[in-house]
Symmetry: C2
Subunit: 629 residues, 2 copies
């Protein structure tokens, strides 16, 4: 450990270089947030060059300390710090925000030292909870540091993270709030009233330390105090000046998100910063002094084989219950698999996982945002997280799901109680836009099992398919229709009924598969044959099978889904067969539903077997079926 009398001037110079690089790179880009970089530069310099243990050339080392920039708009500061540490050449910084550089406007995991994309405020701290939980999972001593903005602290997700970290006693997590008192459009709610921040964090069970965020000695002390604090996370609440180091913008409104203009304005800023270098012993190279993570001899985590499903044909099992069984089996075979829930584990059946693997089950109580955010952090560090709740409440975390897609992290979401088939609880508990929500993202795999066997197979497929995935399960019990050996694939489908004389193809998924099979029997009794497809992979979709079925059934395709009409299976099938020139007739929920018995609701909202029968008769007669709005 270097003597502070030597260390502090060196850290001050490092901070000055970070400020200079942040100012220069944003001016070169012509946009960005130099002033918010300047406020946090001292905090980040001390963290990178006197506190964290990491290898700049190998940021993914499993025992390396993590740094999450929750205030993602300070990206230039992050990039400057990694360049200063030696991760890449400093000249790259001047490519900031260019299409040919990975140094984007806000951080994304295109950069090896970024775990999750940030830039939607209040998310980084949730991800940091996840990376801290992962340290426990792999029994590593690595610590997680997360830098938040003061304005950001208004996001409710920050307080979900606060509770989750306290409940788990995450003393390996250290937050830093950069209280520069200025938001985008005006001063923040609490300006420089430091007690407002400290008392909130203390109320939520954190150890809070208030410091001057430009006092290097105080910063180092705070990091040390955080490191030695046991059984609770620490929040360092740092009073800073926005634009610190450039006198003509320091603490001034109207400079948020503005780069200095190249020429006189930039030159003046840089000239001021240049003067702030102080004398240090020439021998001190902070980047070379960075403490490496402890040498680890971690064997790779290799999954054991999982036994095939063990259901009986015709057995009535809700897919949500089969989900729980599948997840527990998978978890026993693979130490990377973890489960998270939001106090509905006895409805989603993640409780089956908790029962056998309590150490890898994280209860988030009723806080869906931190559940998804923590899953992002866990996934970024090698876990395979399955967060579950009622499907409708995943919409609570849509912005997190959006950022998970941008981060390309493998979170495996499970939403139960989809659609009107939940019955009496009413519309607030029915997911009717979840397929639209997940399909909209270009890289989320969307799976929708109809029976217990397909559920178990799809859970395993989701686990090992790269990137984010969503599994939609249903409340009612449904009979097993697949043999335990039946193969499934991402992007596949199953033709359940077919003949040479099918007049139309009915494409169903989940609970509507059974309505379609019922319709098949009724039509068969009346002498009409139809093709029935189980579209268990909603995204990607099995275009080939759909086009083949369309061609074989006169181009007559009927989709039936327990979901609103826009953005779901109707649209997926329609887009898939567009080039073939087939017309898709859609049966879907087209209004806000109400409470009632499941079978009453399926019928009232037009997606029951009798509606399918009518639709088949209608399209076979050359008529159109479904209205659009």
């Amino acid at each position: 450990m270097t003597d502070r009398a030597v260390l502090i001037p060196a850290l001050k110079n490092a901070a000055t270089r970070l400020r200079i690089d942040s100012v220069r790179s944003t001016s070169e880009a012509g946009s960005g947030h130099p002033t918010t970089c300047c406020s946090a530069a001292d905090l980040v310099a001390a963290l990178f060059f006197a506190e964290m243990r990491f290898d700049p050339k190998n940021p993914h080392d499993p025992d390396s300390d993590r740094f999450v920039l929750s205030k993602g708009h300070a990206a230039p500061l992050l990039y400057a710090a990694w360049a200063e540490a030696g991760a890449f050449d400093r000249s790259e910084l001047l490519k900031l925000r260019r299409i040919d550089s990975d140094l984007e406007g806000h951080p994304t995991p295109r950069l090896p030292f970024v775990d999750v994309a940030t830039g939607s405020l209040g998310q980084g701290i949730c991800a940091a909870v996840g990376t801290a939980l992962n340290a426990r999972r792999i029994k590593s001593s690595y610590r997680t540091y997360v830098l938040l903005g003061d304005g950001e602290s208004a996001e409710g997700s920050v307080w979900e993270a606060a509770d989750a970290a306290t409940a788990a006693g995450l003393d390996n997590l250290c937050g830093i709030t950069d209280v520069n008192a200025l938001g985008q459009s005006r001063p923040t709610m609490w300006r420089h009233d430091m007690e407002q921040f400290a008392r909130r964090w203390r109320a939520f069970g954190w150890h809070a330390i208030v410091i001057d965020g430009h006092d290097m000695n105080a910063i180092l002390d705070a990091y040390a105090e955080a490191r030695s604090t046991r059984n609770q996370p620490t929040m360092i609440v740092a009073r800073t000046i926005k634009g610190k180091g450039v006198s003509f913008v320091e603490g001034k409104e109207g400079w948020h998100g503005k780069a200095f203009k190249k020429g006189e304005e930039l030159d003046r800023a840089l000239a001021e910063l240049d003067k702030q270098f102080v004398a240090v012993p020439a021998s001190l190279n902070l980047a070379q002094q960075i403490a490496k993570p402890p040498a680890s001899s971690r064997p790779p985590e290799t999954p054991k084989p999982v036994a095939p499903p063990a259901y009986k044909m015709g057995e009535a099992v809700a897919t949500r219950e089969a989900y729980g069984t599948a997840l527990a089996k998978l978890g026993e075979a693979d130490s990377r698999v973890v489960a998270l829930d939001a106090d509905v584990g006895n409805s989603t059946f993640s409780e089956k996982f908790e029962k056998v693997l309590p150490d890898r089950f994280y209860e988030n109580y009723i806080a869906e945002q931190v559940m998804i955010g923590a899953s992002m952090g866990l996934a970024a560090r090698g876990a395979i997280p399955f967060p579950s709740t009622f499907a409708c409440f995943l919409s609570r975390a849509y912005d997190f799901i959006r950022m998970a897609a941008i981060s390309q992290v493998g979170i495996k979401m499970a939403g139960s109680h989809a659609g009107v088939s939940i019955g009496e609880d009413g519309p607030s508990q029915m997911a009717l836009e979840d397929l639209a929500m997940c399909r909209a993202e270009p890289n989320i795999t969307v799976l929708y099992p109809s029976d217990a066997v397909s559920t178990e197979r799809l859970v395993a497929l989701a686990a090992y398919h790269p990137g984010p995935a969503y599994i939609r399960t249903s409340r009612p019990k449904t009979p097993v229709i697949y043999s335990n050996e039946e193969p499934f694939s991402v992007g596949g489908s199953k033709v359940l009924r077919e003949s040479g004389s099918d007049v139309a193809t009915v494409v169903a998924a989940g609970v509507t598969v059974f309505e379609a099979l019922d319709a098949y029997e009724r039509l068969k009794a009346a002498g009409t044959a139809i093709r029935v497809i189980d579209l268990y992979s909603v995204a990607p979709v099995d275009r080939e099978t759909l086009v083949r079925a369309g061609a074989a059934t006169g181009g007559r395709l009927i989709t039936v889904e327990d979901h609103y009409a826009d953005g779901g299976i109707g649209d997926a099938v329609s887009a898939a067969v567009a080039d073939a020139g087939f017309t898709v007739h859609r049966l879907a929920v087209r209004e806000i539903p109400r409470s009632g018995k499941p079978e009453e609701l399926l019928d009232r909202y037009g997606i029951s077997a009798s509606h399918i029968v009518e639709a088949v008769k209608s399209v076979a007669a050359g008529k159109t079926v479904a209205a659009t709005r």
Copy 2:
């Protein structure tokens, strides 16, 4: 005011009746949450029959106190209280959860005494902030009461509401937290540690009162203390027993969301409750004693005429800036119009409204959930709220938007900075799934202006069209293409270019309108004519014009949108023309984008003029264009 010695036994009996009704109605329905009703029955009885001023027969009276059941699963208790107050016949309660009754599993505004649908936890308190703000707007003394669950307090949105209420000094808002210590799957995070709740609320600036939630005297005192507290909201933190009154379930796990079985189990519960009635003077009828709201002589709020837009053809104005101008004009003409923002008013241009109408502008800082939630409450009480932020951050409040759709309340959302055309800030700031998100709900009007004139017209249309609406604006400046007198309508579109020899129809909206017009010129120079449609109303969609254009251009339709491929304009057009048998070729963003210049990104992600030119050539030659995943 009745003497407490008389009042309290009467209130106790009222609470017992509420318990009995909650137990009976859920048993009759065969599902529901009787135990969570029992814990809150004393709190609700005192509120309805000794505290609130309201007219049971006219719940929409503008000066009537409001009650929001944030813990929506206690719906049977809410219904029982309104029946007890005389709003409807008590026998209706036994129709709970039936398809032929508006007494749904969770409350919805199908019932006249429900302002907003609840049942997604953590939302009711946000709506309550809105109804409290509305009291200020209309200068009414009405108070807002909101009942939360303890488990619910883990939702971050609760703390967004806490901050928003404190910042506005809402002393007309009183929360009650029913701390029954049991969640759905396990005890809550803090069980009966009342200080955990009180210290959080105090840290967030509320006056907190801890009481025994079954001590009627303490409850009445707490309501009185809240009523006399100035400049800050009050939270009554009430220690209760889940299942209170039915000894064999009191405080027991495993009874969440379970109705008593009809027969012995129900009979035993009812027999116990029946014994809890105490003697009261026969003359005391609490329902008749309910204090009516003060007689009001409020004139209806009638809007003044708004001057037409005043732009010059060709003038370059970003639609987001035109939004601000339009909103300020509308606000000056209509006292019901209010604006909310999440600290980006200088980017969304809601600051233009704030400048002229600061009293009707509510700054929510960086807290999108309470912004949408408060808008729901405002809309339910007669305001026309326009909440605005970056379009991508509306995804933060998707669960609220979903509940606004269920509530059928007229919130008018505005999302700026849509699509890759924002440029250098990168994907975290780009809304590319917002159209999918809003289109999925069956009753949200989705409008997408391309120039300043259409923006101004669409803002006014959104304001007065019933139900929720979403207006999507863009970051770049675009030229004015419509005359100030041009008419627009919900469900309309504009054919911008047409001839008798058009080989294809290009359907665009927002920034892609200008790419389409550019493509038109390039193709025209090469001797090819195309039809160009501005689809400014994305939902509902102008089916007639699209089908006519398709028929006139050989069934060749090309959509081009600054949005992901699934759930947006391509799907909207495809669904609209499906019955006509036309094939839609989609140009849209098909991968996670990165930072870059706007024009570079439009081109890289396949939605620029040159891509349109290529697509036209290709479809005119009979080839297909766009891949699906």
